[in-house]
C-alpha cells in the first residue's frame, strides 16, 4: 500500500514470515483456539484515545490503498484470516492467523482450492450476522467499485467477465459459499503462493452484502472487528468506538482493544501534528515527525518516540509509455541523476539508500552489486543526449501537502533540469495523489511514490507494482506502465508456485533475479531508499504497550501509563 507518512521501514521478522506462509498454506492451518492470543488485560482499558492522523484517500476497505486507512482497518475490518497483531520487533508479525474463519483454511488440489468455515455467531456492528455469502459479495463489490485491489483476484476461477467489465460484475463462479454450513470455497486457476496473504488484506475484509456498491464513507461500511467507525469527515476527523456486537475474545488473534473510543484529527502538517502531541492535547501522532526537528524531539522526549524500520521502498516511477521515458537511456539517466544519500537526508536521515526494488528484510533480497547507478550527473547528461530526448518537457508529480514529499519532488525536478530536460513540478494534494497518477488519463510522466508491503512476499512488490499484465486504466498501481514480457512471465511463474516451493532457495534466487533484471537491465523504476517511521506518544501514554506490526502501530493495544 502507499503511504504519505514520509519514510518507511525495514522489518526484521519478515524472514520468518515466509515460513508462516508455507506452514499456513500447506493445509490444516492453525486452529482458532490458538494460544497466541493478543487480548489486552482488562485493567488497561481507558475511555478515550485522541490521535493525530494523516489524511487518506478513502475510509472504505474496498477502495483505500493507503497506510493511514489500513492502520485503522486492522481493528475494524477482518477477513477470513488476519495478520498477527504482534510486534515485528519481538515476534513473527508475518504470521497469518484465523480471522472470521475457524482455521487458516484447508488447501487442496495442489494449492488451487481453499476452503474455510466461518466462526459461528459473529455479527457486524449494525447487528447483521456475518454470512459466508458476504465474502463473495465483498469481492464482487470490489469489482463494482473498480477497487485498486481487484488485481489480486485475477487468479480466481470465473473472474474473467468481472475483469473485462468490473462495474458490471455480478458473479464469480470460483467462489462458492454456503450460508447454512458457513463455508467459503475459493477455486484458483493455478496455485498461488501468496493467496493466503491476499485474504488477510482489507480488500478481502468481509463487509455485509447489503453494503452500498459505491464509495461508502460516512459512516463507512459496518465492521466485524472489535471496533467500528462511527463517523468520518474526510481530511478532518474520524471517530471509532467499540463494536457493540463484538464478544470478548471471540477471535483470539484479534485484541479486544484498550481504548473505548478513538478520536482522530486529520492533518498532513507534520509540525502541527507533533506539537499537538507534545502539548498533551493528543496522545499519539501517526504522522512522521518534522524532519528538521527530529533531533529536538528526540532530545526532549526520548522515551516517547520510537523509530521503526518497515519493509518499504521509496522510488520514482517513470512512465514507459510516454516520452522521454519510453527510452531505456532516459530511465537510466534518471537513476544516475539522483543522489540517494541526499534523498535520505531530505528525510532528516530517516532512511537507508537502496538500488534494489525489494527491501532488504526479505529473504529474496539480494543486494545488486556493483552499485548499478552511482550518483553521476555527467553520465546522466550523456545518456540524455544519447537518448535524443534532451530539451523535452517533463512533468514531475509529487505530493504537495507532505513537506518531505514536496521537497523530494523539487529535488527530482531540479536534477532533471540539470541533465538536459525542461522539467516542471506538479504538486497534488496527498488525499488524491495516488488516485490521480494511477489514472491513465492523467498521463503522469514521472513522479514520487512509495510502497509499504501488503504482505511479506515478493509478489506484492513485483506482481502488483511492475507486472505489465496487471496494468489498469484507473487505480493503476503500475504508474510507470512497466511491461517487460520476460519479467512478467517469470513473476507469474514464481507467484503460482505451490506453497511448498515458495521459499526454496531457487525461488528466492529467481525473485532476486527479477529484481536485478528490472532495475539493471530495464531501469524500470528509480528506487532510492528504504525508510524509517516514527511513533510519537504523549506523556500520558505508555510506549511499552506499543505493538508495531509490519507497517503500523496497533491502536487497539495502546495503553496509558
Amino acid at each position: 500500500m502507499r503511504s504519505k507518512r514520509g519514510t518507511s521501514v525495514a522489518i526484521a521478522a519478515v524472514v520468518a514470515a515466509g515460513l508462516a506462509l508455507v506452514v499456513s498454506a500447506c493445509g490444516g492451518g492453525s486452529s482458532g483456539g490458538s494460544n497466541n492470543t493478543t487480548s489486552a488485560p482488562a485493567g488497561k482499558t481507558f475511555p478515550t484515545l485522541k490521535v493525530v492522523w494523516g489524511t487518506t484517500d478513502y475510509l472504505d476497505p474496498g477502495l483505500s490503498y493507503r497506510l493511514a486507512s489500513w492502520q485503522l482497518f486492522q481493528d475494524v475490518y477482518l477477513g477470513l484470516v488476519v495478520k498477527a497483531h504482534v510486534s515485528c520487533q519481538t515476534d513473527n508479525c508475518a504470521k497469518i492467523e484465523p480471522g472470521l474463519a475457524t482455521t487458516t483454511g484447508k488447501v487442496t488440489d495442489g494449492g488451487k482450492d481453499f476452503e474455510f468455515t466461518l466462526r459461528k455467531g459473529i455479527k457486524y456492528s449494525n447487528g447483521e450476522p456475518v454470512k459466508a455469502s458476504d465474502f463473495k459479495a465483498t469481492i464482487i463489490r470490489d469489482f463494482k467499485l473498480n477497487s485498486p485491489g481487484i488485481g489480486f483476484f485475477s487468479n480466481i476461477v470465473g473472474v474473467d467477465a468481472c475483469e473485462a467489465n468490473p462495474t458490471k460484475c455480478s458473479d464469480i463462479s470460483g467462489i462458492v459459499t454456503d450460508d447454512t454450513a458457513g463455508t467459503v470455497e475459493i477455486k484458483l486457476k493455478t496455485p498461488e503462493s501468496d493467496f493466503l496473504y491476499i485474504l488477510s488484506i482489507p480488500f478481502t475484509a468481509v463487509v455485509p452484502a447489503s453494503t452500498p456498491q459505491k464509495d461508502t464513507e460516512n459512516p463507512p461500511p459496518a465492521a466485524n472487528g472489535p471496533y467500528y467507525i462511527t463517523s468520518y469527515n474526510p481530511s478532518k476527523s474520524f471517530t471509532i468506538k467499540r463494536n457493540p456486537n463484538w464478544k470478548k475474545n471471540e477471535i483470539p488473534a484479534v485484541p479486544n482493544g484498550n481504548p473505548d473510543t478513538i478520536q482522530g484529527t486529520m492533518t498532513d502538517d507534520q509540525s502541527q501534528s507533533a506539537q499537538l502531541v507534545a502539548s498533551g492535547q493528543y496522545m499519539y501522532n501517526q504522522n512522521l515527525l518534522p524532519v528538521d526537528r527530529l533531533s529536538f524531539y528526540k532530545q526532549k522526549y526520548p522515551d516517547q518516540i520510537k523509530f521503526f524500520t518497515t519493509p518499504s521502498t521509496y522510488y520514482f516511477f517513470m512512465n514507459t509509455r510516454l516520452a522521454p521515458f519510453d527510452n531505456l537511456k532516459a530511465r537510466q539517466a534518471v537513476n544516475y541523476a539522483i543522489d540517494r544519500q541526499q534523498l535520505v537526508n531530505l528525510r532528516g536521515g530517516l532512511g537507508v539508500p537502496t538500488w534494489n526494488f525489494l527491501p532488504p528484510s526479505y529473504p529474496q533480497y539480494k543486494k545488486i552489486t556493483p552499485t548499478p547507478y552511482p550518483y553521476d550527473l555527467q553520465k546522466a547528461k550523456q545518456l540524455v543526449q544519447q537518448s535524443g530526448t534532451a530539451g523535452q518537457k517533463v512533468t514531475v508529480y509529487t505530493i504537495s501537502d507532505v513537506a518531505v514529499d514536496l521537497s523530494t519532488g523539487e529535488y527530482l525536478q531540479s536534477q532533471l533540469n540539470k541533465i538536459g530536460w525542461k522539467a516542471s513540478l506538479k504538486p497534488i494534494a496527498g488525499a488524491n495523489y495516488f488516485t490521480i497518477v494511477g489514472n491513465q488519463s492523467t498521463k503522469a510522466q514521472i513522479g514520487f511514490t512509495d510502497w509499504f508491503e501488503d504482505f511479506p512476499y515478493p509478489s506484492d512488490w513485483f506482481n502488483v507494482l511492475l507486472n505489465g499484465e496487471r496494468i489498469t486504466k484507473v487505480h493503476n498501481n503500475n504508474y510507470g506502465n512497466v511491461d517487460v514480457k520476460s519479467a512478467n512471465k517469470e513473476m507469474n511463474r514464481l507467484a503460482s508456485l505451490p506453497p511448498d516451493q515458495a521459499l526454496s532457495a531457487s525461488t528466492n534466487a529467481a525473485w532476486a533475479k527479477v529484481d536485478r533484471t528490472l532495475i539493471v537491465d530495464h531501469a524500470a523504476v528509480a528506487p532510492y531508499l528504504n525508510g524509517i517511521l516514527t511513533s510519537f506518544f504523549s506523556s500520558k501514554m505508555n510506549p511499552d504497550c506499543d505493538v508495531f506490526t509490519d507497517n503500523q502501530d496497533d491502536l487497539a493495544q495502546f495503553c496509558l501509563k
Binding site: A10, D292, F307, N345, L425
Partner: protein, 376 residues
C-alpha cells in the same frame, strides 16, 4: 491670463458603492493654499507640489523603489555575489564559512545495527551567513540548499511583476468597463453592473483560490490563448479579474456624475463620438482617482499574490515568490526561520510603502477624497 481650471474635475460628487465620494473644487484648493500660490498652475502641478511636501509619502516611495531596484538587480546579485541560481538545488554542497567547511544541509542517515535503526539526524539548512561565506548564503539556505537571498530577490521580481501587471490590467479593464457602463447606460449599464456585483459577491481570496487552483491544474487553453499551468500569467489573470469591481464600481459612479455635465454636451454638440467622449473627455476627469486606485490596488494585488502562492494557487513551485517562500519556510520555522522571515519583511515593507505612498498621492490629488480599497 489666469488658467481656468478644467471643468468639473474637482467638483464632482459620485457614489462609490457604499460611501459618498467628494472631490474638491479648484476654488477650495485655492482657499486652502492661497490664490496667488496656485495662479497659473494646473491641478497636476498643484498635486505634485503637495506631494513633494509630504516627506513621509516620499520616503516610503523611496523604500518601494529601493525594493523594486533590488529585485531587478537579482541576476547581477547571482552573477557577482552568490553565484547560486534561484532554483539550484544543492543538498550535498559544502561551503567555506570563516575558513571552515560546512555542509549547507546537515548530513544524516541510518544504519541498521542488529536489526535496529541507528539514526544520525540531518536535513537542517545553514542559517544566515551575512558574508562569512564569501557572499554565499547571506540570508541562509532553504531545505534544498538553495540560497534564500537569491530566491528572495527573484521571488520579489515575481511578486512585484504579478502585483503591478495584474493591477495595471485590472485598472485598464475596470476603466473601460466603467466608462462604457456609465456612458451608455440602459441595458449595457445593467449587464456590466451585474457583472461587477457578481464578482463583488465573492470574497477576493476565496474567488482567487478557486480560479487559481482550477487554472493551475491544466493551465488555460482556449482558442488562441495557451497558458501553461506554471505560468505567471495565471495568477496575473486571476488577480486582475477578482479586483475589477473594486475599481470599476467607484469609477462608474464618478463617470455617471460627469455624464450629463455641460462639457459632455458641448463635446456631443461638436460631433464627438462615444469613444472620443469617453477617452478624451470623461477619462481625464477621473484620471486622478484612477491613479490613486491603481497605487492602492498594486499593494492589494501583491498581498493577494502572496496569499494565493502561499496556498499553492499562485506562483507554482519551484519558482520563488514571496508567498511560496513563506509557505516553504513555514515547515522549518523552528530551525530555519530565515526562509520565511525575510520574505515576510519584504512583503511588509513593500505593501506598507505602497499604502503610505498611495495615501499621500490621494491626499495630494484630492485632499478630501475618501477612496479606500476594501475587500473581504
Amino acid at each position: 491670463m489666469q488658467a481656468a481650471p478644467p471643468p468639473n474635475v474637482f467638483e464632482s460628487v459620485a457614489t462609490t458603492g457604499q460611501e459618498e465620494f467628494t472631490l474638491d473644487t479648484a476654488a477650495e484648493l485655492a482657499a486652502e493654499e492661497g490664490a496667488t500660490q496656485i495662479q497659473g498652475k494646473s491641478p497636476w502641478v498643484l498635486a505634485g507640489r503637495r506631494l513633494r511636501r509630504n516627506y513621509v509619502a516620499l520616503a516610503f516611495l523611496g523604500v518601494f523603489l529601493l525594493v523594486v531596484v533590488c529585485c531587478l538587480l537579482a541576476p547581477v546579485y547571482v552573477s557577482q555575489v552568490s553565484h547560486i541560481p534561484q532554483n539550484d538545488v544543492r543538498t550535498g554542497a559544502v561551503v567555506v564559512v570563516s575558513g571552515k567547511k560546512v555542509n549547507v544541509i546537515s548530513q544524516g542517515g541510518t544504519k541498521i545495527v542488529n536489526g535496529q535503526p541507528v539514526i544520525k539526524f540531518g536535513g537542517v539548512p545553514i542559517g544566515s551567513q551575512w558574508g562569512a561565506a564569501g557572499g554565499k548564503y547571506i540570508l541562509g539556505a532553504d531545505e534544498l540548499g538553495r540560497d534564500v537571498a537569491t530566491r528572495l530577490l527573484y521571488g520579489g521580481r515575481n511578486s512585484l511583476f504579478i502585483g503591478i501587471t495584474s493591477a495595471a490590467i485590472c485598472t485598464i479593464l475596470s476603466v473601460v468597463l466603467a466608462l462604457v457602463s456609465a456612458y451608455f447606460g440602459g441595458i449595457v449599464d445593467w449587464i456590466i453592473s451585474r457583472f461587477f456585483d457578481l464578482i463583488w459577491a465573492f470574497p477576493v481570496v476565496l474567488l482567487g483560490i478557486a480560479l487559481g487552483t482550477a487554472l493551475s491544474v491544466n493551465g488555460f487553453h482556449h482558442g488562441p490563448i495557451n497558458i501553461s499551468s506554471g505560468s505567471l500569467w495565471i495568477p496575473i489573470g486571476v488577480i486582475s479579474f477578482v479586483f475589477i469591481p473594486y475599481i470599476g464600481r467607484p469609477l462608474r459612479g464618478q463617470v455617471l456624475a460627469l455624464r450629463n455635465r455641460e462639457f459632455i454636451e458641448a463635446a456631443t454638440a461638436q460631433g464627438a463620438g462615444p469613444v472620443r467622449i469617453m477617452f478624451s473627455e470623461l477619462l481625464p476627469n477621473v484620471a486622478s482617482s484612477v491613479l490613486v486606485l491603481f497605487t492602492l490596488i498594486v499593494a492589494n494585488s501583491i498581498l493577494t499574490e502572496v496569499g494565493l502562492s502561499f496556498l499553492g494557487a499562485g506562483v507554482q513551485l519551484p519558482n520563488p515568490s514571496w508567498g511560496t517562500m513563506i509557505q516553504e519556510g513555514s515547515r522549518l520555522l523552528s530551525t530555519a526561520p530565515q526562509i520565511s522571515l525575510f520574505p515576510g519583511i519584504a512583503i511588509a515593507l513593500t505593501v506598507l510603502s505602497l499604502n503610505v505612498f498611495g495615501d499621500g498621492l490621494r491626499d495630494a490629488l484630492d485632499p478630501r477624497a475618501k477612496i479606500r480599497i476594501e475587500h473581504g
